[in-house]
């Protein structure tokens, strides 16, 4: 590299640091244009990246993770007032005349060496139980989907804050020059569906380069990726060469480092035109991959296919990969609908852990599975022999974590006999966020961004690392 070029690059880098460091309060953690990850973390990171398998709509903890055998005896009994303690309910059941206790119709059994209890709906997850730390006492402030998802994704119920993945990409930057640091994949479930919003992967007040990029199935995995009809890669290459010449002239004229950045970004765009389709193309995956992830794996856009994509993204060093699987909102017909959801998600989720492990990636990839709140122990609507529904329940729900930084085979927290309230080791959403950041080597109290007169944190003024689930 000649000295002039080098000097220019230096300007660029200094410029970038000055831009990204402005007003952060603490030093920016990462470099954005770095060739490799050079993230200086607060303390040694156990995980380099995160795959968050978000189960959108709120899966029932009582039918999957939180085993309450004693409830069978209370089947159909009205939920005692002492349990509910007059707490608010949603408008969907607040006016119900009765709140019949609805024990799960599914069988539970201890799994693996650790003996974590899991529902028969999760046979594949059961096989990887010793990798999991199941937290049964997560709770949230919100009672409806939109604010609850917003809270879980951004640490605040109202819109406007950066998503968890945006904070991570802001703090740690990218490990890959050819792909965004934060990638989102959405799949449709078979059950009750709620709307998603872009803000779940938005950058809030952080610069938009930190926002999640939603990969779609189909011809354009990233918006505007494909060249227009009649315009091939060769022409695009020539176009970019000439554009580079023109922009180079502007750079020499104005000495504005933004121009150098733009030249680099056009080159990255060109690389993405190759790297993204290559990444999204599963056709070269061996047969064994599809067997591992199950029957949906060949269906583009399915949860299973997205899990394979998640692994491919992880392999390529994408920092934060978030799946959204919809369809967990079982207000009625829960036994039938949740079964459908589990058939779609159980095997691929477990396969992802196995796949990461066999490739040596699980040790530095944190995997999180969970929804935005739990579901009520009482039935929404009529309880029958084999059917019931469950309303929204913010007071406790279950998530699991696995991989980088996490101790496997742990079951954390206890709820009361009805699975209604937390009785031991409560974990709130900020605690979950603090724990995720901790695994990445980031002190959640020191990852801040100054906006409108104050320093914001993902964890606001709360957050406590859940040490018991850490390796």
């Amino acid at each position: 590299m000649n000295p002039i070029e080098e000097g220019r690059l230096l300007i660029t880098r200094r410029h970038f640091f000055s831009r990204s460091a402005a007003g952060i309060g603490v030093a920016a953690l990462g470099s954005l244009l770095s060739d490799q990850a050079r993230a200086a973390t607060h303390f040694p990171a156990k995980a380099k990246r995160v795959i968050y398998l978000f189960q959108h709509g709120a899966p029932s903890q009582l039918d999957l993770f939180d085993y309450k055998p004693d409830l069978l005896r209370r089947r159909g009994e009205d939920l005692p007032d002492s349990v509910r303690g007059g707490q608010r309910l949603t408008g969907m059941t607040a006016y119900q005349a009765k709140f019949p206790t609805a024990p799960t119709v599914f069988k539970f059994a201890p799994q693996g060496k650790s003996g974590i209890w899991l529902s028969e709906l999760l046979p594949h997850t059961g096989k990887v139980a010793d990798e999991l730390a199941v937290i049964k006492t997560l709770h949230t402030e919100a009672i409806n989907h939109d604010p609850a998802v917003t809270f879980l994704q951004t640490g605040f119920q109202l819109a406007g804050r950066p998503a968890l993945g945006a904070w991570v990409s802001y703090g740690l930057g990218s490990e890959n020059q050819d792909l965004p640091a934060f990638v989102v994949l959405v799949s449709q479930g078979s059950g009750g569906t709620q709307a998603l919003a872009d803000r779940s992967w938005g950058s809030g007040f952080l610069p938009s380069r930190y926002q999640g990029v939603k990969f779609r199935s189909g011809a354009d995995p990233v918006l505007y990726l494909s060249n227009p009809p009649g315009y091939e890669g060769t022409a695009r290459r020539r176009f970019l060469d000439d554009l580079g010449k023109l922009n180079q002239g502007t750079l020499e004229d104005y000495q504005d480092p933004e121009v150098a950045t733009r030249i680099a970004q056009y080159e990255m765009a060109f690389r993405m035109q190759t790297s993204v389709p290559e990444l999204a193309d599963l056709s070269k995956e061996p047969e064994s991959t599809f067997e591992l992830y199950g029957p949906d794996a060949r269906k583009p856009g399915s949860y299973a296919a997205n899990c394979i994509l998640a692994r491919r993204l992880a392999e390529r060093g994408v920092r934060f990969i978030q799946l959204f699987h919809r369809g967990w909102d079982q207000h009625s017909n829960l036994p039938k609908e949740i079964k459908g959801q589990c058939v779609q998600t159980d095997q691929p989720s477990a396969a992802l852990l196995q796949d990461l492990k066999q490739r040596g990636l699980l040790e530095d990839t944190l995997v999180v599975w969970g929804g935005e709140f739990g579901r009520t122990v009482y039935s929404q609507g009529v309880l029958t022999e084999d059917n019931y529904g469950r309303d929204h329940h913010p007071r406790c729900f279950a998530v699991w974590m696995a991989g980088g930084g996490i101790q496997g085979g742990v079951s954390y927290g206890e709820t009361d006999d009805f699975g209604y309230s937390v009785v031991k080791d409560s974990v709130d959403v900020h605690d979950l966020h603090a724990t995720i950041l901790h695994c990445l080597g980031v002190d959640h109290t020191r990852l801040t961004y100054k906006f409108q007169g104050r320093h914001f944190r993902l964890t606001d003024v709360a957050g406590r690392v859940v040490k018991a689930v850490l390796a």
Binding site: R14, L196, G202, L206, Y224, P228, Y231, Q265
Partner: protein, 632 residues
Amino acid sequence: MKYGNSPPLVPAPTREQQAALADLERRIGEIDASLRGRDGGGSRDGTVGWTPSSGLVAELAGGDFDGKKAFDAGDIAKFDIDDRFTLSGWVSGEGAVFSKMADTARGRGYGVYLEGGRVHVHLTSNYNDDAIRMESVEALSPSRRYHLLVTYTGSRMAEGVGVYVDGKAVEMKVLLDVLYRPFRNAGRVFKEPFRVGGGGGPERIFKGRIEDVRAWDRVLREDEIAAIADRPEAREAKRRWLYLEQAAPPEAREAWKRRLALEREREALERSFPTVMVMEERPARKDTFLLLRGAYDKPGEKVEPGVPAALPPLPGGAPKDRLGLARWLVDPQNPLTARVAVNRFWQMYFGTGLVKTVEDFGSQGEAPSHPELLDWLATEFIRSGWDVKAMQRLIVTSATYRQSSRATPELLQRDPENRLLARGPRVRLPAEMVRDQALAAAGLLVEKQGGPSVKPYQPEGLWKDISMQDMDYVQSHGPDLYRRSMYTFWKRTIAPPMMMNFDAANREACVVRENRTNTPLQALNLMNDVTFLEAARFIGQRMLKEAGPDPAARLRHGFRLVLARTPSTAEEQVLRDNLRFHLDYFADAAKAKEFVAVGESPADPALSARELAAYGAVASLLLNMDEAVTKE
């Protein structure tokens, strides 16, 4: 699903609509003048059999009801929560008078009841939390016959419901006032029949007599209501209307008929006005308390509205409400508003405000780089009578703004952010301007002002991917594809992707300082979005049609359209080479044909597809230049 704006609302007619309304008012006024004094003369005693026919959609004789069987009038009076309507009848007895409602106690639909002598009105989408429910304060004595009439303005608020007994409005007690979802919610058909003497459950079937049931698809005026109820003071008017309808000379009858039709037209026009949600002061202010440590259930000291002590007080006599706040904001004694405003103008032109933290002039904000300048601009702004345009002129004609944006390495070293303004600004355009500028250079921009939002190009399926009920983006066509970006329809949960790529605020939270990032997604967006490809093709077309046959002149013209200057020799060389490459590339007719077909505005068939494609590709190159998206 919630439809439309939530009340309270004010209408916000477009210019065209305002003009149409004025025209209707004028025509109605002319007819009124021509009919003045025409009432048939004379005076007759006794009642006159007349009811308004304009907007009448149902007319039923009624009869006796035994509490067991209601009358099912079929699928008429199909009103939903956003429709205007009037229902009327003569009643004596108890139970459901008329309804179009599921036949259960808490059913969906509308209904009017007499219960315990009280008039009840229900508009129910969901009984518990999505309904209007009200009852009359006074009970009617059960032994008499009454005229009962209910009007509804489609406002989705209890305030929009009027209840009249014997032609007089009665006081109503509002039990629930939160109506959002229509009866036909989420595309469901609302199938209930119009029932007289029933609806809302079998126990509500009327006992007594109901006669002369009528429904109109409009809100009757009070004088009409008094006339239907046969109030003595309305007889004069009633006679006149009857005369104009039936007995007047033909030309007067015609004029009257026209007038009624124009009134309907005016009503329909007013209903089509866009609305704006507004706030309203409560009649009595609620007590407000300091919440201890922010806990909603730990009220501390009681507080009153006021302004921060560090700032000037509210002007004398200003009420302590939003009006008072508004007066305070623009009080000449208050320097803050003008400073904040001019600082934002400054930011718009220079990329950075004189106070960098444009959103924060408080103790956490940054001090101004040029305090005297800020103050002078602020006082100028006030002095000019808050003339926003004059301020723009003042700034853009200043020597500071007109400096060259070129920087030397030394200057860059000493003042990388240009806070000292020793050079002109150099900042990337905001998202809206990136698009508007491309359309303008292409000659495609439609400069029409106002009107409803439009839906320009957007990649397919974006809404459907993540919304509920498969709601999808229905793209506009024709001129609506090329309106200024401020008119682009904005769905907050799924914002227009081009706007988001270029850092537009997502409108979910208040943002006054947008970031300006520089990303590969922006590059892809400018290169491959149909918006910019179509604009490029039209710039190419302008090069071919407006600059003569010489390729060099054509290239210079295109360069000028996009960058407002002529190219340097080196730049011209690059463009010539690039054009040559593209002419060769598009010698393949199939490719050229495909490339010029991008976008909905067709290519000029008189032009060669090969040339148009090649010049369009060069124009795309120009639109992608750093300089094209940067203000300098």
